[in-house]
Subunit: 576 residues, 2 copies
């Protein structure tokens, strides 16, 4: 029977990023889709969805034709095409043209060390690198190490012509696409085709590569949109397609947290700042009527210190969230006064999970709670994204009780969790056990089912039989208005195994001592039942140079490596 | 290398209804999940999500143990388990326990003729039928025809004991589940396992069976939620989990339009009325603070005539939509005054598409339009659900221009379009051609990309080289305040091939004639540019008995079969 039932167009219709790419051009061809403001000269470039789609088609023709990019198939990645670039329309065009034509996009994390950048390029075997004016010096400095691996380089710029550089063979993006037709027949890929390749930041060793399939990214995006729809946070405006996001999260950070996927599918006008600057932020919000954006505390601090802030109309903002690190209370109070729709939030994710897993979430019965109560809910790490299985388990894999106390490891499985590290079966076997991906992060679960991150397994402080809830202590300490940032590490102890040390940076001109920090922890922590006395640090260090990783997280490995130095600076606190 | 990468928990994590079922019990175990009001005695039954989940687990144990239900595998359906039942918690328990344990749920359409019900039971080879008090007489009258096919019958009721009936072997639901444990280890199914089996209403022949996989229903639900999130209709409250839907659409109508899937995944409190009654509707809205519901025009008319309406507090209603048939203008005006959040809407779907395909949709730039303009947008049939490919194509498969004029056939493909008719390769080959599912329905596309249904291919009226836009005429005629309902069919004509005849039922006590109808069409249609003169009907019939199908649609086949009778009743209109 040669009867054809077309499963590939029904039961097996593939979940491809191509579907996301096509939607806005079909629905809103003549509306502005992507806006880029060059942070160096303040010039704007604007594209309707139709224009953006046609540029993406031209790029696909370039990849297939002149650049000779080879598509892959399930289990066999196509050519790896890297970007070393900021947030702009070129980057978004590459985010679709590369995967949708069957190749693998590798957005290089330009905040890694040059050694690690070189390593990831060689490990991924990148065939082409697309780079911009901003990354040109970086690329030049590693060119000699990678020229045997990378075959071609493409320059993304609004300046005409090519830059003066030793990098070669060098092509110019705009010249390449101008010669190509504005339509492209997108291939009928399998949803199991690899679409992207991301690398971990490698704080504990070399970066590890992870490849994601179209299906994984498609399902990630759908579930994240649904998570937003279900969230009953009154501060989260449910404006669907009318949302106008400003992309501050770099596209080279684990898929820019998913924004390039769900914002395109949602036909949201996308505003690209290149990189974050306070004046770029303010001007774009005013000009483009931006409704939402995410910031890390450092960006927020820069914004609060920006002298011209009150000259801009920021009234279109409906939802500004701050995540990524504990938010100092003083900064929070100030931001709430100045920025419309400001709220602190929390979340948890990693390269291996594409990255969304656990996020701030206001449950339906909390919708009408007073703001202070909601603020507390918002900074509990959160609940799993719908569709994902997340558990916090003890040593034998049993879920810990929901008592806001018992601590266990976070394990995850679901449609967008990585299958394996690229070319690294040993590391894969370390994290995939018993049908669960083991994150190596520890958390507790409260009575309402909120998962609250405690720490990295390797960063845990073990005092006697107890584990010190480091993140809880860090968040508590950061709420002191004289504290800029704070982190905790374990100091070896003959009796207890380990005892906690806190490293604190004070806000400028704060006239406070180590004892003030302890006093704050006693009155705001112990007396209010948030922590118990044994958790108080034995050592307090006030310092301006807490070691950090390339992405701005506290580097506890480096702190421990310089333990001697910090202990010398520390004040030893006598425990009662 | 025996290294295991667990694709079944990552890249190939199966999309199963099981994920939907588990979410509310995990997130809101102690909140009310399902409320059922027995329409015959006004008694309420309430279940928390944990209770509902445990009942569903008990039912799964019953299916696996005492009832001996066999699961299937991809391409090979498990036992077919049928329901002949209204909208209540039992039905919702069956909606999950059956598919999630690997068998196939067949919700029998109890509005079909007894012959067709019998046919679908035999064609599906249903092994067990779950029925309620309401369907008991129906089941008794076909028992002799189906007893050779169906092995067991299970009675769903809040009355204790079994009814007096010849139906056997007969089991009682509550007794069965009471003996089983409240937990169940749900099997790791493939997402390609069949989950449900639905039948078309068979207006043009015998009902045709369609089976849907877990993957299809999962993706249907996700995309419909996202469609709602993107819709910029100000009348659509974006309240996510806080939505409290009243299920008026029967669960035996093509998955109750998807509500049992996305309302459970969304942990919405679900309100079940058994069947629609005006007092049940009003009482449930008041008691349960219902926020949304869908009605067909007949239900709305009953509600408007309900004497006690103003005694109820309906203020919780935020979104009442009317669809399914043209809404008479008088009824619309009245409803807008009385029912909070009332708006007319439109949509298009069919059994073969599970059913959601095209729906009313307010584009983002229309959000602030005046209500009258929005009302016009809302009743254009709509735009495709995101993720689905829908085209309107001419005879050679080319999309028609978006000019609000050119007419073509609607063709569809996408993740939740049926793969094939069950046991019917010939009928399947008729609809699946060139990689598209052919709906047999015709439409035009306007300048904004809205697809506007014109008619069934087989119901089209062809006058000369032109196709008469039947649905447009029907909708226009129904807006006359003296018209209750109206339909158009083609009458054979020596010169033109066909000419239109309109059949009209007047509202009670309307003192109007055939000429009044023509006059209305001239002033409201021709003069206002909505139709052109050649579209005016040649024959007008005022009658109280327009033939209808089992689901209340105009039965044009029956009208044509009785053409002689209607022509005798018709007034022939002289064309100028």
């Amino acid at each position: 029977m040669d009867f054809k039932t077309y499963p590939e167009f029904s039961t097996r219709y593939p979940l491809l990023l191509t579907t996301f790419m096509k939607r806005p051009a079909r629905l809103y061809p003549n509306e502005t889709g992507v806006v880029y403001r060059n942070p160096d000269n303040g010039q704007y470039l604007r594209f309707t969805w139709q224009e953006w789609y046609e540029r993406t088609c031209r790029l696909a023709n370039v990849l297939k034709g002149p650049l000779g990019v080879k598509p892959g198939k399930p289990g066999e990645p196509g050519d790896r095409i890297a970007t070393l670039a900021l947030n702009h329309h070129w980057h978004l065009e590459l985010y679709y043209a590369v995967p949708c034509s069957g190749a693998v996009l590798h957005p290089i994390n330009m905040r890694l060390s040059l050694d690690h950048i070189t390593y990831t390029i060689k490990h991924a075997e990148d065939k082409i690198i697309f780079f911009d004016d901003f990354s040109l010096p970086q690329l030049e400095s590693i060119f000699d190490q990678i020229k045997g691996t990378v075959e071609k380089f493409v320059y993304l710029s609004d300046k005409p012509g090519k830059p003066k550089t030793k990098i070669e063979p060098l092509f110019e993006y705009e010249e390449l696409i101008a010669k190509q037709p504005p339509e492209f027949t997108w291939p009928n890929l399998s949803e199991d085709n690899y679409a992207t390749c991301c690398y971990t930041t490698g704080t504990t060793g070399l970066p590890k590569g992870v490849m994601f399939t179209h299906r994984q990214l498609y399902l990630l995006a759908l579930h994240v949109v649904i998570r937003n729809f279900y969230n009953s946070d009154p501060a989260l405006p449910q404006i669907g397609e009318r949302n106008i996001p400003l992309f501050n999260v770099p596209l080279f950070h684990v898929h820019g947290w998913g924004y390039p996927f769900f914002s395109v599918f949602g036909a949201n006008k996308i505003v690209m700042p290149g990189r974050f600057t306070p004046e770029g932020f303010c001007e774009l919000v005013q000009t483009e009527k931006v409704t939402s954006s995410g910031l890390v505390p450092t960006m927020l601090a820069m914004l609060m210190e920006y002298k011209e802030l009150d000259k801009y109309d920021l009234s279109s903002l409906a939802n500004i969230t701050v995540g990524g690190a504990a938010l100092p209370l003083g900064l929070k109070n100030k931001a709430e006064k100045v920025i419309p729709g400001f709220s602190a939030t929390s979340g948890y994710g990693m390269t291996e999970t594409a990255p969304s897993t656990i996020n701030a979430f206001v449950k339906k019965f909390m919708h009408d709670w007073p703001k202070e109560d909601l603020d507390e809910v918002r900074v509990k790490t959160g609940v799993p994204v719908p569709g994902l299985e997340v558990e916090v388990v003890d040593d034998v894999g049993k879920p810990v009780p929901q008592n806001n106390e018992s601590i266990g490891e976070i394990v995850i499985r679901g449609p967008w969790v990585m299958e394996k590290y690229y070319k690294d079966p040993e590391k894969t076997a370390e994290v995939w056990r018993d049908g669960w991906f083991h994150t190596g992060d520890v958390a507790k679960v409260d009575e309402d089912g909120y998962i609250i991150i405690a720490d990295r397994m390797s960063d845990m402080i073990r005092s006697g039989a107890e584990m010190v809830p480091t993140v809880l202590l860090e968040n508590l300490t950061a709420t002191a208005d004289f504290v800029l940032e704070a982190t905790y590490v374990g100091v070896p102890d003959a009796i207890w195994g380990e005892r906690p040390m806190v490293l604190v940076t004070l806000v400028p001109d704060a006239d406070k001592t180590e004892d003030d920090i302890i006093k704050f922890l006693e009155t705001e922590g112990v007396d209010k039942g948030k922590i118990t006395r044994w958790m108080l640090p034995d050592y307090v260090v006030i310092t301006d140079d807490i070691p950090k990783t390339s992405v701005g997280k506290f580097n506890k490995i480096h702190i421990k490596a310089r333990m001697e130095y910090f202990l010398n600076k520390a004040k030893k606190i006598r425990q009662d």
